[in-house]
Symmetry: C2
Subunit: 578 residues, 2 copies
């Protein structure tokens, strides 16, 4: 038997990873809640009408589509009588076959072209209905049969070409030939050949939207933002705005799997919608700082920019093609200045405009110096001025909180990929670690518009757990507590000491101490190995001596020390530690 | 625009529900951990080869299948040059068409039967390769083209039947006719007719396993037990046995949605594998008791039975058809004794056997009386004796823990649906609530066998969160703390007081208090309404007076009282409460 596997790009999370992941989730969740965000969970499957068209064409291609199992189910009744249905189908098919070949035969043998075109009409159209007259079938079956026969008759007709030859074009034996062929190819062609041809077609044509939309109307959640927007619109009557929600759930993307990129991964999002107050932006900065502090990550940079500042840059180029500029700037890190310039030229940007943009992008200086420089460039750009003003206000609000600008960097070249951002944008990088951004977000002015609720401004932040995990592993930042194992295991020697250990376990658990009893009678070494492998810090060994004395041996597995204590003292000692 | 919807049988969980659900999850998780179980998460998607055949035929029908979007993606490159590929395809098709009709024509006109069967071979086989010689295409394209052409040539061949007639079987103009028809039906038949026929076929044939398996090789997790078994087999080398894992994740079933039955729902499972110690059964009883206690549910019954006892009953009937008896007994609650008896008769059970079974099922008495009665009946049944002995041992172990038999009921008629149970089985009901069982489980001896790892005994328990939730709502058992809202909101009057409130918020949060600032300048009433709707228990109101004095007004929203305090005292007061 083949060893079982899991789908490409997916992962199991065993106990050790789970404990570390839980450490990250818990800390993020605590911070979100401390800032007034409330939890939301949306279904794994969303209607494709909700998902498609929101992530660009590439995004649509990366949606996992779920087959309409509902339709499978609706047809279970038919399936139950499969044998009967198949019998009826065969009868119907034979009749169709005879009538069709009748027509072709008449046309060919009698040179009677009046029949010309009738067969094609039969294959394409609704005319098959009449072949069913006299066959005892239900309406639902009739409709299903018709679909079968329309498709089957395509195959049937090919074979008619052979009938002409094999039958020697003699009218008196063609019925016999049909019967012969029918018996042959119902099993052969229809079942094997036919399904093979169709499967081949399916495999080659799955990207056809027409085909996919007919067999699938649900897809797996691609991110948490679109389902959130959908939720807000569906529940607009009950929601108290401004609505602050956080959401920690997996998302799925049919991306090519590679190192650090998975097809199933968690996102941790917090969004506020229903207010354009820049306090929300300031609190996003605070939350980022607090999350990283709680995770023990000290060396990180929160890059901030504003889409209106980028719009100001676009204005300077004289081009209307704002989004091409954003897309090109977004690649600066990856492909470098020269290639970005090349791309801009190829998109019709003038050299002069490109130079003025890069004069700004390459400007070095403190945040106030950058602001002054930008202001001098944006004297004629309302958008540019608005961007600067918003950004300055966010800094000023941070001051009012009594929080420093430490970790915050004004990065004019920050663009962010997603098209829906309209205001401040954020991206967080952990310094000195070869891992991309671990968090990002921004303000959007019309995310719910596509679902029929315009003018709801919002701003959000998303943390990527997988990258945080990798970075923390690299920096050895996971604390020892981030493991989900028992505090103590009870080892024993025989049936009597095993049974004695049960009430000991019960007492320990009543003191809130995570406890396990090694469940089988086994050699002490095996039991201690088990505790070591599970990294259980304490073991209580119960032998007959301990049973009699009531003094239990408590082994500290890390230090290798042991002491004899009464159970009550062990409870006290371990309860403090756990 | 249509209001967006979510798929049938799925749900959003808003903040209020989330908090209550989290309360249930947290308590279950704590108990699992206290008993030494470690967390595991498996991917949402599993290979269909992992899932199918494990849940019975009905289960297979209820699997949600995911389209192979991966394959979509693999072909994106081809898609990019769709026009070019199409052109090449057309050239290839034309050549195939000419060669094929050449053969048929030769065969027909020259009465040369040597060509007989060649065409069919071409359609079915790999012979198309040679038609591509001289056409400049890549390997990947060639393979795709081949699939297209094998399918297309089916259509093509039908039309060849017409060529004979239309061309008047004159060799000198048949090429011209082919060209004419080719131009017509490439657009007509291939694009429209063809895809229509195939879509019809798809819609009618989705339940076909052959088709489904070719377009889908992944499905959504149906339960947590099979993925766990798959995980154990995949990681058998690294796992320390006995392996105690818990898993809290959603599962999906394409069931007909109805009240209380959803297509996406969470399961909370704990299983131990790699030991047949009955201590595990005893600890399952302890865990159930502790979970219910922690949730505040006091009136519940843990029904226990043993599959070997049921086997003993089957032996008494003299029938070999053990599973039919289990299935029938499982329905006792739903359809009553008479109908169960009828079913057993129809399955070939003798009246005498049925009577002896019901004499046992209907026996009333205490647990020891039931055991004595059973023992008298099972004097000749090894299985029956083993079942009784196991059950008695579990009760004896409970005593050793110092735990009473309260809540435990020996229910000989408990059968449980799943076929893989072999030992003790459990089911938990909350009394006086019209909700089915909220938890169930049992011992299985060979769950990993199907993945190639035989003889791994295990036992597990599963809690159903949705039913627990409904029961706790009905009994009003959710504590006030089970809500995820801020402890305090800061209200203000204008820009200055809003700005002042920011450092207040910061101080409160530094004391660990979940705090939010109403982010916009708004009327006080609107701000208080917001706090009321979100059930935030405290509001700090900051006016110009408060700003000057440094004394803040703290409103207790529930009691309607308010007092003036300095920030430090507010922090102390609220930190204790939160």
């Amino acid at each position: 038997m083949d060893k079982p596997t899991i789908p490409k790009g997916t992962r199991d999370f065993g106990p050790a990873q789970m404990a570390k992941r839980q450490f990250i989730f818990d800390n993020i969740r605590k911070v979100f809640q401390k800032y007034g965000f409330q939890p939301l969970e949306t279904p794994t499957m969303e209607n494709l009408s909700t998902l498609t068209g929101k992530y660009g064409e590439e995004g649509d291609q990366l949606l996992f589509r779920v087959l309409d199992t509902g339709q499978f189910y609706e047809k279970l009744l038919l399936k139950v009588n499969e044998a009967e249905v198949r019998h009826k189908f065969m009868r119907g098919l034979l009749i169709v076959l005879r009538r069709t070949s009748d027509l072709i035969f008449a046309e060919f043998e009698e040179k009677d072209t009046r029949h010309s075109g009738k067969i094609q009409t039969l294959i394409e159209g609704d005319k098959f209905e009449r072949f069913f007259i006299g066959i005892d079938i239900q309406d639902a079956e009739r409709s299903l049969l018709k679909k079968f026969i329309i498709a089957e008759s395509v195959i049937t007709s090919i074979n008619l070409a052979y009938f002409f030859i094999d039958a020697g074009i003699r009218k008196d034996n063609y019925n016999q030939v049909i019967d012969h062929h029918f018996n042959q190819f119902t099993d052969n062609v229809i079942i094997k050949g036919y399904s093979k041809i169709l499967e081949n077609f399916l495999v080659s044509n799955l990207q056809s939207k027409e085909v996919a939309s007919n067999i699938s109307e649900k897809g797996l959640r691609y991110d948490l933002t679109v389902p959130f927007a959908r939720y807000v619109v569906m529940n607009r009557g009950e929601i108290t705005f401004p609505f602050k929600r956080y959401q920690i759930q997996p998302v799925w993307r049919a991306d090519r799997p590679q190192k650090g990129r998975y097809r199933e991964f968690y996102q941790c999002d917090a969004d506020v919608v229903g207010t354009d107050s820049l306090i929300c932006e300031a609190e996003i900065v605070l939350m980022i700082k607090e999350v990283f502090k709680s995770l023990g990550i000290n060396d990180f940079t929160i890059k901030i920019n504003h889409r209106a500042i980028l719009s100001g840059l676009a204005e300077l180029t004289g081009s209307q093609n704002e989004s091409s500029l954003f897309v090109a700037i977004d690649k600066l890190d990856k492909i470098g200045e020269e290639k970005v310039k090349e791309e801009l030229r190829s998109r019709g940007f003038e050299d002069e405009g490109i130079d003025s943009v890069f004069a700004i992008l390459n400007f070095e200086g403190s945040t106030p110096q950058k602001i002054d420089f930008l202001r001098s460039k944006f004297s004629n750009s309302e958008k540019g001025k608005k961007g600067i003003a918003d950004f300055e206000e966010v800094l000023s609000l941070l001051q009012s909180y009594g929080v420093t600008e430490q970790h915050v960097e004004f990065d004019i070249s920050l663009a962010r990929g997603l098209s829906y951002y309209t205001g401040c944008i954020f991206e967080v990088k952990i310094n000195n670690v070869a891992i991309g951004s671990v968090s990002g977000g921004g303000r959007y002015d019309n995310l719910t518009g596509v679902f029929g609720l315009p003018d709801v401004s919002g701003v959000g932040i998303s943390f990527g757990v997988d990258r945080l995990y990798d970075a923390m592993e690299e920096l050895s930042l996971f604390p020892k507590e981030a493991q989900a194992t028992s505090t103590v295991m009870i080892a024993h020697f025989d049936d009597a000491t095993l049974r004695y250990s049960l009430h000991v376990a019960n007492q320990l658990r009543e003191s809130g101490i995570a406890t396990e009893v090694y469940p089988d009678v086994a050699k002490l070494k095996k039991q201690l190995d088990y505790a070591n492998k599970k990294e259980i810090p304490f073991v209580i060994v119960i032998g007959s001596g301990e049973m009699e004395e009531g003094m239990l041996t408590l082994k500290n597995m890390e230090k290798g020390e042991q002491e004899k204590l009464i159970l009550k003292d062990i409870c006290l000692k371990l309860a403090v530690g756990s």
